[in-house]
Amino acid sequence: MNFEEHASKPLLAACGIDVPRGALAVSAEEAAAAAAELGAVVIKAQVPTGKRGKAGGIAPAADAGEARAAAARILGMDIAGHRVERVLVEEQARIEREFYAAVLNSPVSKGPLVMFSATGGMDIEEIARTDPDAMREARVDIRNGFDRAAADAMLAGLDTNGALDAVADFLVKLYDCYRRHDAELLEVNPLALLDDGRLVALDCKFVLDDSAVKRQPALESRGSEERLTELEARARALGLRYIELDGNIGVLANGAGLTMTTMDVIAHHGGAPANFLEIGGEAYTKAKPALELVLDNPRVGALVVNFCGAFARTDVMTEGVIDAWQALDPQLPVFFSVHGTGAAEAVAMLESRLGVTPYANMDQAIVAAIAAAATAEGAS
């Protein structure tokens, strides 16, 4: 779950990290009022995507009047498909130097990775390309944590305009913040050294581990809403994993790997999948609402049902599909491939109740579905 800057910075502040004073505004008037309190400010679009600066979503303002004008321009902007609904109004910082810092879960070391660069303000890939000598990393044994000695060792020899002590102290707090809030990624870029010697987090990106939401109840409502289509939102409410795509072949399969593969094989044979919809794991009993979701996408011209039972029983899933099919009576061609646990019972049920015989393998079912969808489109 991604957090926007205005939701991330309070987490840093709670761990003792300096952040600029600021206020969230949803209108130009609110932005002007905040600037009247703060003096010279920066107006920053709050959208769950990077590159706000390049898109024109960040602007300095010397006083309340300029803040009003800048906010009026930025509110309502489209940045990478996100409409700007809110701006953060923050006091301007007198920056002497910019750094980069992050803590993240590393699949390589299978542990936390603390990263620091004495060059900041650009993205980390760019830093790695242009100034690799400024970068330092520390692999952490999560059982021991990351203390001041580890931070000092990591930073030894770096030129930071004399701020090594402050940076080491900051990194220990950043790691603490990462641990306390179950971050997948906690990035501060830029971390600014001000002309008065203070270190301030000017921007922050926090990604909460989706698997840890259950034990971070205070954070759950503060993350940004993922943009979902109406059908995707309905699926989420049902606890189903559904992703809407552009094609016309509906997909119903069990398990993440098999569902992705069904989409791949549709594309391989020249078709286009209409959705990702997985009903494996504990969701295997939800065949009926799952089928309704697929059918409610008006682009769908044919349906592939691809089950391979392991943990999930194909007879249970198939029975659910048949019940739903008979209740909804859709006028849609459907093509089955059913194998694995419970397949013999599933095939018998399909033959007796729907008069349908499943195909010998998924490729045959998919090729037939693509042909049927093309015929349906030609006829309409």
Partner: protein, 288 residues
């Protein structure tokens, strides 16, 4: 990690609904389950084996080689630490949605104690004709038959389909290793490939990967030096970027974890990459 029929297994969470259901099936198949754990039911007998309060208590009474965990996500870390502290050398962690920092914690403890971990978020492993650990349909002889093909999969359902296709084409498996669909896991694709490379009963390997991460690229480096043939299928070619495709680890971010990168690395290593799982039987037959 490959588990043999004579290895002694512990089931943590044996008395739960899933624990009971799959323990009975593992026993019926031949898995040598010697004890279970439930802190509230110590001293009882369940599925014909004694239940202990902890893995440590169980190990005090009987030797254990493998622990299989049927444990809810937020309790896995402590259960795994219990097994690791007890000196158990192999852990199979089936649970999905364990907080990643907990996973990293238990993996660090495992590494320090010389224990190996399969998973999390795996359907487990099968050694046809000997034993299985997890929730795989090992007992279905249309999917698993003793043979010489090693199968590695990040996905249970897709791995099952590959095994079914192999058996339909007249092959059998030396073992199935489900490594799990999470971004951070104990046994990587490369680790599993090494296990099959050194397994005398394995003649060829099928590697079933997914978009996301860099495990297939890492495994390709190893495969390049292997004498045994390797065939691969990578799921997610038609998936949109930036979305988690069901598995937490199956996500393309920018140019990281793409299908093209994986296929390219594998083909450069001499691995044949299939366009559809239905081709696996023929591809293996052509290589043996």
């Amino acid at each position: 990690m490959i588990v043999r029929g004579d290895e002694r297994m512990l089931v943590q969470g044996i008395t739960g609904r899933q624990g009971t259901f799959w323990t009975e099936r593992m026993q019926a198949y031949g898995s040598r389950i010697v004890a279970g754990v439930n802190p509230n039911k110590a001293g009882e007998t369940h599925c014909n084996v004694p239940v202990y309060a902890s893995a440590r208590d169980a190990v005090a009474e009987c030797a254990i080689d493998v622990s299989v965990l049927f444990i809810p996500p937020l309790a896995v870390r402590d259960a795994a630490l219990d097994a690791i502290d007890a000196g158990i050398g192999k852990l199979v962690i089936l649970t999905e949605h364990i907080p990643v920092q907990d996973v990293m914690y238990l993996l660090a403890a495992a590494r320090a104690n010389g224990a190996r971990v399969l998973g999390p978020n795996t359907a487990g492993l099968v050694t046809p004709g000997e034993c299985f650990a997890g929730f795989m349909p090992a007992f279905s002889d249309s999917i698993f038959r003793p043979g010489s093909i090693g199968v590695i999969s990040r996905s249970g359902s897709l791995g099952t389909l590959i095994c079914l296709n192999l058996v339909q084409a007249g092959h059998g498996e030396s073992a199935f290793i489900g490594i799990g669909g999470d971004p951070i896991i104990g046994t990587t694709t490369r680790d599993a490939l090494e296990a099959f490379d050194s397994d005398a009963g394995t003649q060829a390997v099928v590697m079933v990967g997914e978009i996301g991460g860099a495990m297939e690229e890492e495994a390709a480096e190893y495969a390049a030096g292997m004498a045994k043939p390797v065939v691969a299928f990578i799921a997610g070619r038609a998936s949109p970027p930036g979305k988690k495709m069901g598995h937490a680890g199956a996500i393309v971010m920018g140019d990281q974890g793409t299908y093209a990168s994986k296929r390219d690395a594998l083909e450069r290593a001499g691995v044949r990459v299939l366009d559809t799982p239905s081709d696996v039987g023929g591809a293996i037959a052509a290589l043996l």
